[in-house]
Symmetry: C2
Subunit: 103 residues, 2 copies
């Protein structure tokens, strides 16, 4: 996914609290919904001590719309209440990129 | 780590090959060296199916200098030869950010 046009990355880093009942279901639902959002380009995610999810979007407006999506707002509220000790969100403009794939 | 001044994130996503002998030692060494580089602000890392490491830097020049560091060049070469099926590097400008810490 290397693009010629400018695009944006949202870096979401987080640490879970001990109580994560319902988290996985909500996470899967958010993935399904995000994929239907205008401007969504993809995401990558990994977790061990901390979790890092990076989602990619065409415009800042698309990111704002997803943040304000009604179901997503509920998930954010639940996340703050129950699932996360902390999280940090960074909205970034991808300036350049390169990749390596084994030949 | 929320900063008033502009800064940059390098998103490094990767998938390991089956052979990762020596990877952990090199990874630890690179962490030690990166922390000594001018402009280094911090990093976050997680891995399960894929690995995501995000490092933060004051300027694009700092990122370039780290990429060209002699020891780091050796690590990149070894990484391509042995440890990674693929990797993807995105250099990003952090446009804005917010965080949540449990009260």
């Amino acid at each position: 996914m290397i693009k010629n046009e400018a695009y944006y990355a949202v870096i979401f880093t987080s640490k879970h609290s001990e109580q994560i009942d319902g988290y996985l279901e909500m996470s899967n639902l958010m993935e399904t919904l995000a994929k239907k959002q205008k401007g969504f380009m993809g995401f990558e995610s990994a977790r061990n001590d901390i979790g890092i999810t990076v989602s990619y979007w065409k415009t800042l407006e698309d990111i704002k719309n997803w943040k304000q999506n009604a179901d997503h707002l509920k998930a954010q509220e639940k996340g703050k209440k129950d699932w996360y000790c902390w999280y940090h969100v960074r909205i970034c403009k991808v300036e350049r990129e390169y990749e390596y794939v084994i030949s």
